[in-house]
């Protein structure tokens, strides 16, 4: 079960929109596939991102994967806890393991993303 109130990308990021600020992370499915996360590289506040642009990198023991912005805008905050505790991505991917907050430029972009049911269907096939 994934949180029903979030929207998802096919690349396994999630996004939650509160007013014009979007919180972004990776899904439990992604965290499980990555294995033990040991580094997360995130952008500094102020960086502007187009929808689907690479915003960072997550390194697990085994592999390195790019992170893609589910929605465009300006980065307002990167999760400071992940520098010291990257394992939060594995332990609490939808909560304390969030990655960045974005001030959204076009909220309508979220309509193109998957809802929880569509995302679950996608991962059920994988």
């Amino acid at each position: 079960m994934v949180p029903p109130e979030l929207r998802y990308t096919k690349d396994h990021e999630w996004v939650r929109l509160d007013g014009d600020v979007a919180t972004v992370g990776v899904t439990a499915f992604a965290a499980e596939q990555l294995g033990d996360v040991v580094f997360v590289e995130l952008p500094a506040a102020g960086r502007s991102l187009a929808q689907h642009a690479t915003f960072g990198v997550v390194e697990s023991v085994k592999a390195v994967s790019d992170l893609f912005a589910p929605i465009g805008g300006e980065v307002v905050e990167a999760n400071p806890a992940l520098a010291g505790a990257p394992e939060l991505v594995n332990h609490d991917p939808f909560g304390a393991g969030w990655m960045i907050r974005i001030r959204v430029s076009q909220a309508a972009e979220i309509d193109g993303l998957l809802d929880a049911a569509a995302y679950e269907q996608l991962t059920a096939k994988a």
Binding site: V26, E59, K62, D66
Partner: protein, 371 residues
């Protein structure tokens, strides 16, 4: 992020057991193998502190028999298996005529005229063909039992205590790099004190269809001691900490044993010569153009296979393997660099996503088990 899909592949006799244990299965060397069960870090720690159980049936098992078995093998590989005592083993390599490494091997001497050669999964067919060619016309027979043999390894400080009650092999008398015939959980087996983790441990060779019996017996017997099933992910981090080369990363056809710091394995002066000797003699006369080193990455990020290594902006070499060391708690890597850049203490940079990240040359291995 993208998630890989797995194509259909060779399956071991244990694949259903791995699935039942919740393993993630991946392609490796043409086989569908478990890469992890509970998680690489947890599995890695289990092996360093307690015990881990691995399935390695993807490896190649090549038996060489006959009055000329020793001479024929000695002419085919870089080491001299004739010098092995019965029941002992050593690390070896098989090279091409140009000195490039076809595969690295463990060779066990089972009887005066009977040897077991263990090859890597991805090279097993090539090594088998190559040995068959090199044995042709000699009084020795190659029996490739790769697809008829299950291999289960138990590794870690608790391994001997878990295995001992299940076997009639005297483990106290079985030295490191020794092998004995006996039974494990009632199954006829070859039990070797070898491994690829830097810990004490055993490798158990049995008939293909008995693999699940031995696995289940060891899993049950090790439960109380905290044994965990371990996948190829932990096997890779364990061997990397132990400074052991992996074919395809540190070793390949373009690498000579001397590049890899494995010159001690090569017996240039053994009677009869061997394939690759002339090229390897020339390599020793030239001296190595690069050296395999250990790197401790002091900045942030992991240097992975193929990443460039530089010294003060000048190219110095390339990373062959890298990971976050679970035991040391910081990133480590192995790399080939120019001999001038290989002294321990030298500060180099690893290019991680177009950024130079500082790294220090350190002696190998990164980890040595307490004795």
């Amino acid at each position: 992020m993208s998630v890989p899909v797995t194509p259909p592949l060779h399956e071991t006799a244990l694949v259903a057991r791995h699935r039942a244990l919740g393993a993630r299965l991946i392609e490796f060397g043409g086989w569908l193998m478990p890469v992890q069960y509970s998680g690489i870090l947890e599995e890695h720690r289990a092996v360093r502190e307690r015990a881990g159980l691995f399935e390695l049936s993807h490896m190649g098992e090549l038996f060489v028999d006959g009055p000329a078995a020793g001479d024929a093998l000695a002419a085919a590989v870089v080491s001299d298996p004739r010098t092995l005592a019965i029941g002992r083993a050593h690390y070896s390599m098989i090279c091409a005529p140009d000195g490039g490494i076809i595969d690295d091997l463990i060779i066990y001497r089972l009887a005066p005229d009977r040897y077991l050669v263990v090859a890597n999964a991805g090279n097993a067919a090539v090594v088998s063909d190559e040995l068959a060619d090199r044995l042709a016309g000699l009084n020795a027979v190659l029996d490739d039992r790769s697809m008829a043999t299950s291999l289960v390894a138990i590794q870690g400080p608790a391994a001997a205590g878990i295995l001992a009650p299940l076997t009639d092999v005297d483990l106290n008398g079985l030295r490191y790099y020794a092998i004995a015939e006996g039974q494990v959980a009632g199954v006829p087996a070859l039990v070797a004190r070898t491994g690829y983790t830097g810990e004490d441990g055993f490798e158990v060779f049995v008939d293909w269809d008995r693999g699940p019996d031995v696995w289940s017996a060891l899993e049950a017997a090790g439960h109380e001691a905290g044994l965990l099933p371990c996948g190829l992910g932990a096997r890779d981090t364990l061997r990397l900490e132990a400074g052991m080369p992996l074919y395809g990363n540190e070793l390949d056809r373009t690498t000579s044993p001397f590049d890899a710091g494995l010159g001690r394995v090569v017996k240039l002066d053994k009677p009869g010569g061997f394939v690759g000797r002339e090229a390897l003699v020339r390599a020793t006369e030239r001296g190595p153009s690069r050296r395999l080193i250990g790197l401790e990455i002091t900045g942030r990020g992991i240097g992975r296979h193929g990443y460039a290594v530089a010294r003060g902006g000048r190219p110095a070499g390339v990373v062959t393997s890298g990971t976050q060391s679970p035991t040391l708690g910081h990133p480590i890597a192995m790399a080939y660099v120019h001999p001038d850049d290989s002294e321990p203490g030298t500060i180099l940079d690893v290019e991680i996503r177009d950024q130079p990240v500082a790294a220090k040359v350190v002696p190998l291995p990164f980890y040595r088990r307490p004795r």
